[in-house]
């Protein structure tokens, strides 16, 4: 820690502000570069080993193990896509995840019930 500053002139305050802003910019720019680096490493690993992402996710998350159990069932019927979710799974039939999220949000809003208290089994587009 630097020694406490007792007095600062207006000129010094400008200099201090400039230096501090530069440090903040530099620190956040470094974090930005670290994120790019991290993403590049993950992309490279995925490219080398296509199963890397699934392995990593399974390693970090217990939930991934549950998803793996469900995966064979999903493969049987490839037109069904299983949405990622914090609680259980939902079958999306001819709807994108974005559309499904929108529908779930609207239903929760109309029912005045928190989304995490609702259970959706499937969302199907009716032509």
């Amino acid at each position: 820690m630097l020694s406490a500053v007792e007095k600062v002139t207006i000129g010094e305050s400008f200099a201090l502000a400039g230096v501090s802003m530069s440090i903040i910019m530099a620190v956040l720019a470094c974090i930005m570069l670290l994120i790019y680096l991290m993403s590049a490493v993950f992309k490279f690993m995925e490219k080398r080993n296509p199963e890397f992402k699934a392995k990593m996710d399974a390693f970090f998350s217990k939930k991934s193990e549950k998803t793996e159990e469900i995966a064979p069932a999903a493969e049987e019927n490839k037109e069904y896509v299983t949405a990622r979710g914090s609680c259980g799974n939902i079958v999306l039939n001819n709807v994108t995840e974005r559309e499904a999220a929108m529908i779930m949000a609207i239903v929760a809003d109309k029912m005045q019930t928190p989304l995490n208290e609702l259970r959706f089994k499937s969302i199907k587009k009716i032509d």
Binding site: M1, L2, A4, V5, E6, K7, V8, I10, S13, F14, L16, A17, G18, S20, M21, I23, I24, M25, V27, L28, A29, C30, I31, M32, L33, L34, I35, Y36, M38, S39, F42, K53, M56, D57, F60, S61, K62, K63, S64
Partner: protein, 399 residues
Amino acid sequence: MDIGQIFVDLAKGSGFAQLGAQWQNAVMIILACFFLYLGIKKKFEPLLLVGIAFGILLTNLPQASEADLIFHPEWWTGDEAIANGVNYLNVLQHGGLLDILYIGVKTGVYPCLIFIGVGAMTDFGPMIANPKSLLLGAAAQLGIFTAFILAIVFGFTPAQAASIGIIGGADGPTAIWLTKSLAPELLAAIAIAAYSYMALIPIIQPPIMRLLTTKKERAIKMDQLREVSKSEKIVFPIMVTIFCCLLLPSVAPLLGCLMFGNLLKECGVTERLSDTAQNALMNIVTLFLGISVGATAQGASFLSFDTIKIVVLGLVAFSLSTAGGLLFGKLMCWATKGKINPLIGAAGVSAVPMAARVAHVEGLKANPSNYLLMHAMGPNVAGVIGSAVSAGILMAVFG
């Protein structure tokens, strides 16, 4: 026995008689009721403002004797406390309820615990998907340092000026964390200003947004963000903690807690802890923080010209932070040939998720099919990191 004298003595000993002698306390009680109105009726950051207002009310109600006092400000900010440090043994033995609760503020425990909760509620995904948004979060700290310069011009000490400037970070816990160390005598005014302006974001930011951007810029639709893997979300808090704490050790308490909370959320094996951090812990600490910060606002010290200056400087800091983010957003818009909507820069002022919502709403007004919310969440959470880093720098210089 003189019955009349008994009534006279009772009247003299009542709180009403003491209120007459201490007009500042009466004003503070009215002010507390006004804050309660703002919190309850107008829903201005009610979770904290109601607590702060009630703390103000309690601390300004006259007590019969010294022993009955619920809070002793001189124990914390008096000359003896400044010269020799706080006598915690005395506080524990003879302190009132709010003295005991204030220990958490003075030691900086509450803001850090709140940051664990904030981290557990924050999704850094949009920021990881678009790392450039970190620069917007940095640019939106401009108001902190402009207000710092102005506060020096207005005659505040450097430590006080730093505490006033941090209001521009639009981050209540950070403002409290810095002020309790640098300028505890200004804590109530700064906390109230910080939380009030955070609540007023939907009123303060839109005119600045419209002033600094064209309708064409506000209507820019941004590309959909890439999907961020679970692994990236887990590595991110660990990586940022190691890097930032090695680079700037003074940010460790705030940033470390923020990232710890986020790791609890993302790692997937500590769901119970994450849930506790987001709900029970957050609520309990918010309760203690609000009421004990409010207790520092005693009439004699709070009702001064300095408080008015702090309120004005806080507004300047907040507005300039918004402007800083917007102008950097415009720069990025120009550099990327119109791929970035400058409005998301305004979300760099922390205040998650209110600032991102305001950017989204302004984008929708310019183009009804423009959904900026997730794009604005990137700079928004970057702003939390930015204001924590700013506080760390100011603490390193003036602490």
